[in-house]
Amino acid sequence: MMNGLALDIRDVSLTLRREPVLEQIHLQLKQGEFLGLIGPNGGGKSLLLKLILGLIEPDTGQLRVFGRSPKEVRGTIGYVPQHARFDMDFPISALDVVLMGLLGKKRLFRRFGGKAKRQALMALERVHLGHLADRQIGELSGGERQRVLIARALCLDAPLLLLDEPTSSLDPQNATEVYKLLADLTPQRTILLVSHDVGIVCGYIHSIACLNRRLVYHPSNQMTQELLELGYGFPVEVVEHPHHCRILEPHSRESAS
């Protein structure tokens, strides 16, 4: 909090099975900033989020979230994982899934009270799912399920939100809704959003970073060819779409040569 940085990553490197996966990452996020993080699959985007969440430790370098270590702030950061790896048949309601977001605030051996339930219901209403609160999670569509996970991250009212491709199973219209909602949450909250929808995202974010083992930061929402190429590590083509643009990766040019 002291230096006004929500996130302060300095010289962070990570090696997995002797393979360098993140190298000398520098990233400073001001409070209230909305950063879009792009990059190829396997570029380390999800790993970077896991470092920030304290789920894994970096080999070198320093990570500070509001001036404290990731482990210290655990339970106060909103997080939407990339793939819901849970069992769709799990006997649990949408509301109970959202309540999980508040577990960090609840004391062990206590039950959730009415206040927590109202908070969870409000988070569901924010993603327009208030009417489906009692549905079993498997009875929802893929898009609705994704919005439940977003509500789970929102209900904590966290000052920092990390979202790992939250719109991958949404259609463009629903995805736009989610981006609008996120944009409304700033500047009270700081958001780090991993996305492939470079075109749609550009309209809402404040800054953009591209991660492909190394991180390239760009302090505006203008996506440039140069940034993309730096991030992806090889020439890329940008194709204009009616709704949005997509990045086409050449067929593994690196491994072919």
Binding site: L55, D87, S93, G104
Partner: protein, 281 residues
């Protein structure tokens, strides 16, 4: 058939079966939704080592079983998050080592161990009164644990990574869940024996899952189904010996009834709501 109720041994058997059904339904629900049936199988077989130690050193085999399952549960819980690749193998080792120790301890015991089979396959008709109270006490511990940690157990069963991000002590909670599972296994050894316990922990809960969309109703239904199968199995065993002089152990009968019920339930589920068929496990 109802005259069976007048015999004290049958009353004790019935009471034990009903009490064990509670632990079976509640913990069985977690075993099914968290998919820890192989861990539970390992724990129940580890119990046999404790049974053997009890015989050898002359203390209650059930006490030995409790100690061995709790210790095996603590060991597996510790390794769970540290050995992602070798964990499955470790379960098999605990499984086999428990049985091997049990057999060695029994061999070391002077004389003949007459009711060894009863610990392998259950012997609910010969339950002493003290064991009925023991099962009731274990039920109490299991219910208290689940009552106070319901949301936490639900969270680690549903989405362990998020539970950790939310700040829960995921490793410790899993240890507690395994400890409660160990206690549930001990209550069920009387009914079904170490080899068949895993069937009682999974089949009623898997059947209940087909008809419920929340954990609490699933636990209640699994308890009811387990109680129904146990009572029916007991009466069936009594009736077969009374009328046909067929002396069949009740444990295997109870389990075959539970499987039959699961089959009927799966078929009914397929007909009832063909739009969305839920798998059993």
């Amino acid at each position: 058939m109802l005259e069976a109720l007048s015999f004290p041994f049958f009353q004790r058997a019935l009471a034990t079966a009903l009490l064990a059904s509670v632990a079976c339904g509640v913990i069985g629900t977690y075993v099914v939704v968290k998919r820890i049936s192989s861990i539970s199988g390992g724990l129940s077989h580890a119990a046999f080592g404790g049974v053997g130690l009890g015989y050898w050193l002359g203390f209650s085999p059930i006490l030995g079983a409790t100690g061995f399952t709790l210790a095996a549960g603590a060991g597996l819980g510790w390794a769970y998050r540290r050995l992602p690749s070798g964990f499955d193998t470790l379960i098999s080792m605990v499984w086999a080592v428990g049985m091997a120790l049990g057999i060695l301890f029994v061999a070391l015991t002077p004389g003949y161990a007459p009711d060894l089979m009863s610990y392998l396959f259950g012997s609910i008709l010969f339950v002493p009164a003290s064991d009925v109270w023991g099962v009731a006490a274990l039920d109490g511990v299991v219910l208290l644990g689940v009552f106070f940690l319901f949301d936490e157990f639900q969270a680690i069963s549903f989405d362990e990574e998020f539970a950790e991000v939310a700040g829960l002590p995921v490793g410790l909670l899993f240890q507690i869940l395994l400890a409660l599972t160990s206690l549930a296994i001990v209550t069920l050894i009387r009914v079904a024996g170490v080899i068949l316990v895993i069937a009682l922990l999974t089949i009623p809960a898997a059947t209940a899952r087909q008809w419920t969309t929340r954990l609490r109703p699933m636990m209640c239904l699994a308890t009811l189904l387990s109680a129904a199968c146990s009572v029916a199995g007991l009466f069936l065993a009594y009736d077969l010996s009374d009328r046909l002089d067929l002396r069949l152990p009740s444990g295997p009968l109870i389990i075959l009834l539970a499987v039959a019920l699961f089959g009927v339930s799966s078929a009914a589920r397929a007909i009832w709501r063909p739009r969305k068929i839920r798998g059993g496990s």
